[in-house]
């Protein structure tokens, strides 16, 4: 595999250091109005000690307020504002993740212990939703590969399956007559995708532990794939030799596939994927449409994983 060569951009070019250091003050003022809405989850946010990483992008990060109030997390409701408004009862800690299947050393891992065991890296990634909007988010987390190496996948393992928690009492979207999806939410990756250095298990964003609405306490971030691949509040990771099911493919196989690589050439049946609306960038007027990049701009790093594959068929 070719070595990863990051673009040479210091994070200080994106956000001036003095502003970055004052970010809490600034964000505090900017979000006062929204505090009541997600006060409960904010209260549990704790500062993380993170190390800088080489993974960043030369684009303005999306304001924390937008990252934490505009979410698709159907376990809390269908509306983009529901996860922030309705996730106050969710208890992200203590939390364990069970890793099993085709591995030498299966185990159940405490998330807080993992956060001590592995260095938590700060990585700024583009996030492209299948609904044609996008953000730029400074995540904090550990490479999924670190956890996989710890459990030693067998040679026969080809895929990794993920599962979200089911807690109807804490997640109102999992309760009631009209259930939007079959729970638990499941996702999957090929093992080589899962081991790719870009693939992150995020435990925080903007230097603090993940808010409930963003998938606390631990979620997947695969920046070259559509956002729905980034499964949230993970309780189980299983190594397997069969392609795992993923919730959206099961729900609507015409519209969503297993791979879900960001691809401006392959339209969603109901809208074009050629461009995206960057959230929080321009407000009401002067719509800020950006061209969508192949593999969400990570083609140099990941295109080789799919050489020889028909990406129209494997959408």
């Amino acid at each position: 595999m070719p070595a990863y060569r990051p673009p040479k951009i210091a994070s200080s070019e994106i956000t001036p250091q003095q502003l970055y250091l004052r970010r809490r003050e600034f964000l505090g003022a900017a979000t006062l109005g929204a505090m009541a809405l997600y006060g409960a989850s904010k209260a549990s946010a704790a500062a993380l000690s993170v190390i800088e990483s080489k993974y960043t992008v030369d684009e303005k990060t999306t304001p924390l307020k937008d990252v934490t109030t505009y979410n698709n997390f159907y376990e809390f409701g269908l509306d983009k504002g529901d996860p922030a408004a309705l996730s106050g009862d969710f208890k992200p800690l203590p939390w364990t993740v069970k890793v099993d299947g085709m591995v030498n050393k299966p185990g159940t891992f405490d998330v807080e212990a993992l956060m001590k065991e592995f260095p938590i890296e700060s990585r700024t990634y583009r996030m492209r939703c299948v609904e044609a909007w996008s953000m730029v988010i400074p995540w904090d987390g550990l490479p999924l590969a670190s956890l996989l190496n710890k459990v030693e996948p067998l040679g026969s393992a080809k895929y990794v399956a993920f599962e979200t928690v089911v807690r109807p009492d804490e997640m109102p979207g999992q309760k009631g007559i009209f259930q939007s999806l079959d729970w638990p939410y499941v996702e999957g990756l090929r093992l080589d995708e899962a081991r790719h250095p870009l693939t992150l298990l995020a435990v925080g964003l903007y230097g603090e532990t993940l808010p409930n609405q963003n998938g606390a306490p631990i979620r997947l971030v695969v920046p070259w794939k559509y956002g729905f691949k980034g499964i949230k509040s993970i309780v189980r990771i299983t190594l397997t030799d069969k392609e795992p099911k993923n919730t959206w493919q099961v729900t609507n196989p015409q519209e969503y596939g297993f791979y879900a690589n960001v691809n401006p050439e392959v339209d969603h049946p109901r809208w074009s994927q050629a461009t995206e609306r960057r959230i929080g960038e321009s407000g009401f007027f002067g719509a800020s449409r950006h061209p969508t990049l192949p593999f969400n701009g990570y083609a140099d790093e990941v295109a080789s994983l799919y050489s020889g594959m028909d990406l129209r068929k494997n959408f």
Binding site: F178, T251, E255, R270, W271, A274, R277, G280, G283, F284
Partner: protein, 218 residues
């Protein structure tokens, strides 16, 4: 029943229709103000676009509900039907304008592409296009001029309703409770229309009597 069919003094009646236009356009005006002053959340354009679409559906349902309400309950709001129908059209037009101007930033080729390729947008466009002749003939002059053809022309509203319901149902990744309710109401109202001609011939005498009774009571 009579209680619901309140009637205003005559001199207030036309003022109340104008008030309905004003009140009906308020949600759009207020939400536009919120959007323009950056108070509409992280994705204001999409929020406004969906808001206008939802209110189009609401006014469409109210428009279609006027005659069943009169037939079944004796509530006579016929006076307001034109305003409700035109509000449906105005909201549909604003919904399309926001999609075209704020969402797609006037990229005509993108819009044409969307309309030709995507059934979900095709249904919405068809509904809007069919609303145009209805809106243009929503005046007393056209009613006199077209005579019985006016009634036939305005039956198009049921095609508009069906296309609008399909557009709404296809617009999201999964159907939520809200969509079941709105789409269910539209289906009921369309079914009522196909059932009504028979029901009416049975009840004609009764209906007339009831209306007379209503007139006396008020």
């Amino acid at each position: 029943m009579v209680g619901f069919s309140f009637s205003l003094p005559k001199r207030w009646q036309s003022a109340s229709v104008w008030a309905l236009y004003a009140v009906g356009l308020l949600p759009a005006a207020w939400t536009f103000y919120l959007g323009a002053t950056d108070q509409l959340g992280a994705d204001p354009v999409k929020t406004f676009e969906l808001f206008l679409g939802l209110w189009t559906i609401r006014f469409l349902i109210l428009t279609l509900a006027v005659s069943p309400a009169r037939d079944l309950f004796g509530w006579n709001y016929l006076r307001y039907r034109r305003a409700l129908g035109l509000l449906t059209f105005y909201y549909a037009l604003m919904h399309f304008t926001v999609y075209m101007v704020l969402d797609q930033a006037l990229d005509i080729s993108m819009v044409v592409n969307d309309v030709l390729k995507r059934p979900f947008i095709m249904f919405g466009m068809a509904a809007l296009a069919l609303l145009i002749p209805l809106a243009l003939t929503s005046n007393n002059f056209s009613i006199l001029r077209l005579g019985p053809n006016w009634v036939r022309l305005h039956r198009l509203v049921y095609i508009v309703a069906a296309a609008g319901a399909v557009h709404f149902a296809l617009s999201t990744k999964v159907l939520g409770l809200q969509q079941y309710i709105y789409v269910g109401l539209i289906i009921l109202l369309i079914l009522y229309r196909s059932w009504r001609p028979i029901a009416r011939s049975h009840k004609r005498g009764q209906g007339r009597e009831r209306r007379r009774a209503t007139a006396i009571a008020s």
